[in-house]
């Protein structure tokens, strides 16, 4: 089966830096996995609602505010924090 993906693009999306050996290994493994899914995709099924997964509105939650963790607890489980906020490496999606 021809590769349905670009391993460099996937690595970039996943923020992974891969060696040539890793790229070869993961490409082959991904091809296998995608092969399994292709078998599922090939099955002739209409795009409909799965009745077994349907619930009615009784399964909805009411609009009642509940307890919160608090900033102290939230930041404690993060690797790094500052001033009640979670600290991450700089990410920019603006004009630079």
């Amino acid at each position: 089966m021809a590769e349905g993906f670009d391993i460099d693009h996937l690595a970039k999306l996943a923020r992974l830096s891969l060696t040539a050996e890793e790229k070869a290994l993961y490409s082959s493994q991904l091809n296998q996995i995608l092969g399994h899914f292709q078998a599922l995709a090939d099955a002739d099924l209409p795009a409909t609602i799965d009745d077994a997964r349907v619930v009615d509105e009784a399964a909805l939650r009411s609009d009642e505010p509940g307890p919160v963790l608090g900033a102290e607890a939230v930041t404690r489980i993060a690797p790094a924090s500052r001033d009640g906020q979670i600290s991450v490496p700089r990410v920019v999606d603006d004009e630079s």
């Binding site: 693009h9 996937l10 999306l13 996943a14 923020r15 795009a47 609602i49 799965d50 997964r53 349907v54 619930v55 009615d56 509105e57 399964a59 909805l60 939650r61 009411s62 609009d63 009642e64 505010p65 509940g66 307890p67 919160v68 963790l69 608090g70 900033a71 939230v74 930041t75 489980i77 500052r82 001033d83 009640g84 906020q85 979670i86 600290s87 991450v88 490496p89 700089r90 990410v91 920019v92 999606d93 603006d94 004009e95």
Partner: protein
Amino acid sequence: MSTPPSDWEVVIGLEVHVQLHTRAKVFASSPWGFGKEPNEQVDPVVLGLPGTLPVVNREAVEKSILFGLVVGASVPEHCSWDRKNYFYPDNPKNYQLTQKDFPVVVGGQVEIELPGASRNVMGEHKFIRIHHAHLEEDVGKLSHAGSGSLVDYNRAGVPLLEIVTEPDLRSSAEAEAFLRSLVAMLTQAGVADCDMEKGQLRCDCNVSIRRRGVEKLGTRTETKNLNSISSVRDTVIYETARQIRELEAGRSITQETRGWNAELARGYVLRDKEDAHDYRYFPDPDIPTLKISRETVARLAKQVPENLYDRQRRYVEKLGLPYTAASVLVNDRALAEWFEIAVAAHPTNPSGIANLVANDLLRDLAASTGTAGAFDEAAPAPVSLASCPIKPAQLAGLVKLTDDGVISKQQAKEVFTEMFKSGQDAAAIVDAKGLRQNSDTGELEKIVQEVIADPAVAKSIAEYRAGNEKAINALKGPIMKRTQGKANPVLIDQLLRKFLA
């Protein structure tokens, strides 16, 4: 740069993200609201911690359905949620819960009104089709500080309705008109507050151009995260000019995602198509498909308020209001309903009531309340009628006193000012100030006869009897003077004509 050369046509589609008016988040019970300390409105479900499961907030679903009904969309039998996968720290789970294949709202349309030739002339009306609207979760807020970025998850999980239009808009003015109309509909139905200063409404703007007469759409760009109506307008103008420049120079348009720098009034490239995110959508296994009962749809249909332009047409055609007053009233549902209560109390002069509401009342209320949301700088400040010292029936009473000739229109302004200060009935103020015009026919008849008998006015009487209608006015002054201005002018006129006939 504001209008493209006539052989180019701009085609615009908008994606409008609206935070729904709920108390709790969309898949979690955490409360949300603007202006809280960072990460104080976060619970384990918002963070996607192990062992937690999202459960959909009923109110968020119902507000979404209500929006669908407001724009005349069909409400599907089912809707379901999908995972949109991406790696970015604004999302604690590495996926956003959204709706891809089975959204809660499909179709519908929004009526818009373009600006008229002048303030008192109604502009053209158009319908903009809605493709669909889906209910998803908002993401956290990033701020950039030095070498790192800081994340506040208070906004993560806030119910967000993404409203996607068909590419039906053809100018920056239409985009502006659409957003104004949409905001009015959302707020009047109580679906959302749309406070743009608090980021409750944000917009992505798709722009392409094509030669007039060509059916095929040109390559489009998407400018993301616009948070004011003026930014949307400026982006359309900027993108249109840029794309025309590119194509006329023989270059092509790249399908790309762009940002907008409102300070510098210019757009910039965020990423091109090669860089496009592969979101690997799949149905969320944690949230079952929801069946929407027809009973719920019928119940919500009763909450749909009168469409603002239907209301405007009714005011102009049935109540005879001038367009200027009608257009002001219909933009604010509470104000329009206030006006209608007043009209019910004095049904014979809706225009008289409308003019007082749209001019005097609004002016005095605006002076005593806050400012408009920043998304729409041009909109009038929303006023709070809750604190309005005048009740609708009291205003109706004031108009009735004027219509009955008890006080003059000039005196009505004075009485209105006093009513707004004290909250007293118009009649009480008129009596207290001794403004009541004299309508006692017997006493007035005597004065009129005395004035007519005065030789000083004999010439005017002769002129009037000779056919000069205006000569009668010369007699009114002396009568008014002798009644200290309290005589009812209508009655004076009647009596003069009676005695001079």
